[in-house]
Symmetry: C2
Subunit: 471 residues, 2 copies
């Protein structure tokens, strides 16, 4: 269906119905995205104050056949938040709908509007003595509606799951402008198709999330953190099994660190104090979130002893204070910054079945070597099977020299991921950056079903056109 | 669209393509369901051996416009497994597809065919030193495909979630006969719409699940079980919060027991040894599944002391042996049997927001009293907000006398559930029994979206017609 641009006449339709205050001039930030791969077209920017105004806006867009792009914190890494081509869109920013509507500590539930900043949701949970575990680098600026629309991941997925696992109910404006009032606080409700999970991860192409009922958790009573030197990726995976056998769900982070990343730290961030005097080829950062009557040092010590008996580990630093704990995390958290300073040729957010990770790392080394004399830093959320697999120029040379090889490197890595039954977007989503990848690697029957669902719920194709499914 | 019956000619089409061995005479059990509300029409019964045969069968049905009903263990309580009206269906039973295809202990994943009996899936997990936590009364005969198609609940939902929370990937034959190969072993994969969760809980109306990748968990190292006498439903809910504060996710069962249920036990099952000499009005059965270095008695004792300090509990039996543990569970497990012997006027599988349960119980008492001199036994999975809310005749009288009031009682209870933002089907699904309820109580926008999705994926309407969405 032919779409029409959101132009001045359309803006007048909006202000006639909702008043001038709902519209704003379009600042640059609404047209940019962090990776600078896409630049959005300026159409009309609306800042609705409630779900009814979102509903009215979408209904007007549907009547005028104008494309709509929902806008949260703008932190997405795959270009889902800007419309770079086709008719200029109505940008609906949820930033004025940032209220925490209610907290139910007894039920471990919090109801937030879609525009609530993730850090504010976390703080509201903490204020009620509870934990909202979704945690990621952008938490100071990303908004919960965007987190849900993209099914965000982060550092606590191992224990608590992705964003979809943290949501009980949604309020959503559908592409015809109607509001689905689905803010359920029920843990069990088997009365029909799972519209909630369909909306979560649909990246604004099936509707606009306006509020969510979120799951809260008890806060851990104590935290244990340690850096273990492991013999190999195989040993790291055995260590994960062992730690989960001993500590159960308490294992909340299990991060693989590659020697290459530590060498990058030495090169470009020498002020970061490393855990071991000689950077090991492989190490693992483990964190346990414990309940009453569990001692973090005892627990971590017992894991170490059992792992050493099996020859999995050769050294460890077990944090004995908050300062030590913070030092261990500082190493992990500075690796992406070191990567940035070195400058990658190509970066990949991939997942493969956990038991295949060691073989994937071996094969990846060969695959990348066939492309050129590159260095690889692969690290990240091993417990989730999710690695950041990043390819760098040889020492002393600049990424700019290799920009022409970027496509080939990416293709080679993604082909390997596909061969291993993996995903080329573990946590960032498809957006506009990876529509070609899902055409190439996705199951064709699933893609056909996705297109049928899109056409059924958004027959005019107004919702975030070009995201997830290529035009 | 007009459907055609699965008749002899259609059977010949099948045997011509797949051989005679795929067809069977239709035994009575394929036409019955446990509650005896619906009787299926005999059409054609096929027992495919693999997903390709399921695909071929559905394709033939689609070409001939013949209705299809997938058949698992036949244990569903809402009539989703039989087609009582309209043209006679092709019944596709998954019973010959019962293999455990693979177990990946390191990944905590098991891949099973849809026809695998739930108890066999549990046993295969145990054989690998792991836990598959889905557990329900019918586990010796229900099949995992049916458990997923209905998003089954059971006794471990509090800790491990419903069936949907235990599934990573699916293989599904869609209504056009194509196979979606979605048996992912990935914990993170953000590449498009969540088809998996759409299929789970769709009760065979959007496709036929042929296999699933399931999540396994570490087995608890020790188990603590106790029966606590509580002051009120409010106190029970405070006790739940307290137990979760102390023991975190280890709280795996939290079952409310009503004095009425204990009186029924005294009346009709006096051989069941009760926990307390004088049956308390309210009690709670708690179970903890613990990891290393946690002592069940210490843990449960500490919870009791803290609860007593707050005036929540007045007595407790903490199991000191497996025999004692079993004795506590015997009380809980015999309550449904006592209910059956007493004979209910109307039974309800409901959920409400957990914090509203005490008020719901109070209001329910009045609502039921307005209908007549009935007795109420409300009990069950308090931790999930899921109560079995069952209404019985006055002492000494028979349910047969009150059968005429059944509809009014059910309506009054369901109206109250709806007023409380609850669900009239917490874990059993919609099937054919509750299509009227979701028309009455369901969000109209959600129902419209459900119908659009059904029409998009099954435009001929051949898949389990009349289930979930009324014809």
């Amino acid at each position: 269906m032919t779409l029409n641009p959101a132009d001045d006449r359309f803006a007048k339709t909006i202000s006639a119905q909702l008043g001038d205050d709902v519209l704003r001039p379009i600042a640059e930030r609404y047209l940019e995205e962090p990776r600078q791969r896409f630049v959005g077209q300026p159409g009309v920017l609306a800042l609705p104050r409630d779900a009814e105004e979102v509903s009215a806006l979408v209904r007007m867009a549907a009547e005028a056949c104008v494309p709509v792009v929902p806008y949260g914190g703008g932190t997405g890494l795959v270009g889902g938040q800007v419309v770079p081509d086709g008719p200029a869109p109505l940008i609906i920013s949820l930033e004025r709908m940032a209220a925490i509507r209610a907290v139910y500590p007894t039920e471990n539930i919090l109801v937030a509007e879609a525009g609530a900043i993730l850090a504010d949701v976390q703080a509201a949970a903490e204020g009620a003595g509870r934990l909202f575990p979704l945690s990621l680098a952008a938490q100071g600026s990303c908004r919960i509606g965007g987190n849900l629309a993209t099914n965000a991941g982060g550092v606590n997925v191992l224990r608590y799951g992705n964003a979809r696992d943290l949501c009980l109910g949604l309020e959503v404006v559908l592409p015809d402008g109607k509001i689905w009032h689905g803010l359920s606080r029920l843990r069990k409700d088997n009365t029909g198709y799972d519209l909630r999970n369909l909306m979560i991860g649909s990246e604004g192409t099936l509707g606009i999330i306006t509020a969510a009922a979120l799951k809260l958790f008890p806060r851990p009573k104590s935290v244990g953190t340690a850096m273990f030197q492991v013999a190999s990726p195989e040993a790291a995976i055995d260590l994960l099994s062992l730690a989960r056998d001993q500590a159960g769900e308490a294992v909340s982070a299990f991060e693989l660190i590659h020697g290459q990343g530590l060498q990058f730290l030495t090169e470009v961030l020498p002020e970061v104090r490393q855990s071991f005097p000689n950077p090991p080829k492989w190490s693992v950062l483990i964190e346990l979130g414990l309940s009453e009557r569990q001692d973090p040092s005892d627990m971590m010590g017992a894991i170490y002893v059992a792992a050493e008996e099996r020859g999995l580990v050769s050294d460890a630093i077990i944090a004995q204070s908050e300062a030590q704990r913070s030092e261990l995390w500082t190493v992990r958290e500075n690796i992406p910054e070191a990567n940035r300073l070195i400058g990658s040729v190509s970066s990949h957010d991939i997942s493969v079945p956990i038991s295949r990770i060691p073989e994937f790392i071996r094969r990846g080394t060969d695959v990348v070597a066939a492309q050129g004399p590159f260095r690889v830093n692969c690290f990240g959320h091993l417990g989730d099977g999710n690695l950041h697999y990043n390819v760098f120029p040889p020492k002393g040379r600049d990424k700019a020299e290799f920009v022409g090889q970027r496509g080939a490197v990416k293709r080679a890595v993604h082909d390997l991921v596909h061969e291993f039954g993996g995903s080329v977007s573990a946590e960032h989503g498809v957006g506009r950056l990876k529509t070609g990848d899902i055409e190439r690697y996705g199951d064709p029957v699933r893609l056909q079903a996705m297109r049928a669902i899109k056409a059924a719920l958004d027959p005019q194709g107004i919702m975030n056109p070009g995201a997830v499914l290529a035009r």
